[in-house]
Homo-oligomer: 299 residues x 2
């Protein structure tokens, strides 16, 4: 048996293929008129994005030797959850974005009603998949996956962050308030992606804590990098409109701290994320490289 | 110990109080700006409706002697799921209803963005509660509750039915097609409400099959009765606009079969529902009375 060390780029591409296959399998097309909503679900979730969250699920799970067929299902759930949040956030009543990942957002490609329903059904399917027997032989682990995702995604997590974001438009937030908003809105799901590996691997409390800390710091670094890209990037690179935050009068850490200090903070969080994984040794190298990549990316 | 036999009216009222207390407990108010979405969730789910689905969960569970604190949590989940579906269905991009249960619908009382998020968070919380340890001591049962709800609520259940409904506006459906649409859109969640009791009670396959059949027939009878009320009822009685189906050009079984034949079919389904419970004996009398009530109700 030859042990090959994959580069991060190759490993990301391999995970993307595995999660794509899992999504294809988990979202079969029905025959009736309800096929339209499944088409919209597949449009929203398949063939797009860097699959960073999926990669975190599968790489953290592989620290514990979890079967990749199991972790791919959880990765697919997280991507469905993420895709639902983008579909609903893009709606005219929310952020009103016409483009996503370089193509028309779901409500432009279909219509608003279909987009609302597709988001609802992706959210529903995400939870259903986690609880199905194929996801883990231990039902306690499956319940933990559901509870932790509910916590990350609900009114005290992602949805709460989006609510704060909408309620804050035109208001001046402090750096702390922006940090909390972003921790809820984007951080919690990224944090969950690392925690899910610990749950699948039946990690001990210290290991789970370290992976949660890694996910939290990667999420925070990722969000600051995203805000920097919104200022520095071009729409072509990023695949969606840039300069939107400033146009909407939305404060970000970049607008409060300035570009240079924001970059320093993202770098600090990225290094801190990697340090949480030191006790896992060499097998965590791709996750540590990922922490560096999220602040170095150009799109 | 005195055994008192509650009337169905009293039993419904008692369940409504229990599920209201459970919802209050399960939806605590946070401190931050995200409180707005929890306010909207509570507005949508509390203090309203007949709690028929909750009653079915708790009464079917009580056939097996399930602790009412456990079944009240599942009942609260089903009511959260039902409330989310109403909040999203009432949106301007969907059925565009300004009134619900005799008060402004959630997007009128708050705004569209908050209503979308409140629906999302109710759906999320429903799954989270089912998987939490307090819901059942056996994690296998909790997973089964999650999977069955996902099946009832997703693209092959409630959301699929809503998609067919929207896609069918202005089209002529056959009685069979309408029956399928309604089985998905409203039937599956009512069916789940009866199945949930079987799951909580670790029923044997035959018992579970009988309760699923009961739920399916009650759901179908309920929907025909709803369509009859839309024709015969006044907005004041029903608590929402009536005559909407005809105005929207939506075909119902009433418009296809005529009022008298529709009433006969609802009565047949109601009797059939009650018959599925015969083997459970006297302790199922409230559920059998409920099957009669759904076709006799005036609101």
């Amino acid at each position: 048996m030859t042990i090959t060390t994959l580069s991060l780029t190759d490993a990301l591409a391999q995970t993307a293929r595995e999660v794509e296959a899992a999504l294809d399998d988990l979202l079969p097309m029905p025959d009736g008129a309800e096929a339209r909503v499944v088409n919209a679900m597949r449009y929203a979730v398949m063939g797009g994005g860097k699959r960073m969250r999926a990669f975190m699920v599968m790489e953290t799970a592989s620290l514990f030797g979890v079967d990749r067929r199991c972790s791919a299902r959880v990765a697919a759930s997280v991507e469905m959850l993420h895709a639902y949040s983008l579909v609903h956030d893009d709606l005219p009543a929310m952020d009103d974005d016409d483009m996503r990942r370089g193509k028309p957002s779901t409500h432009k490609a279909f219509d608003e009603a279909t987009a609302i329903l597709a988001g609802d059904a992706l959210l529903t399917r995400a939870f259903e998949v986690l609880a199905e027997p194929d996801t883990h032989s231990n039902p306690e682990a499956r319940c933990e996956l559901v509870v932790a995702l509910g916590h990350a995604a609900g009114a005290r997590g992602m949805v709460g962050g989006q609510m704060i974001d909408i309620a804050s438009e035109g208001k001046t937030l402090t750096a702390d308030e922006i940090g909390r908003l972003q921790a809820l809105k984007t951080g919690r799901l990224i944090q969950y992606s690392a925690e899910a590996g610990a749950i699948l691997g039946r990690a001990n409390p210290m290991q789970r804590h370290l992976l949660v800390s890694y996910g939290r710091d990667v999420g925070a670094a990722f969000q600051i990098a995203d805000d920097i890209l919104d200022v520095e990037g071009t729409a072509e690179d990023v695949g969606k409109a840039t300069g939107k935050d400033a146009a909407a009068g939305k404060a970000t850490l970049v607008s409060i701290l300035g570009l240079e200090r924001a970059k320093l903070q993202a770098d600090m969080l990225s290094r801190q994320a990697a340090e949480h994984l030191e006790s896992f040794g060499e097998k965590s190298h791709l996750l540590r490289e990922l922490a560096a990549l999220v602040v170095a990316r150009k799109s």
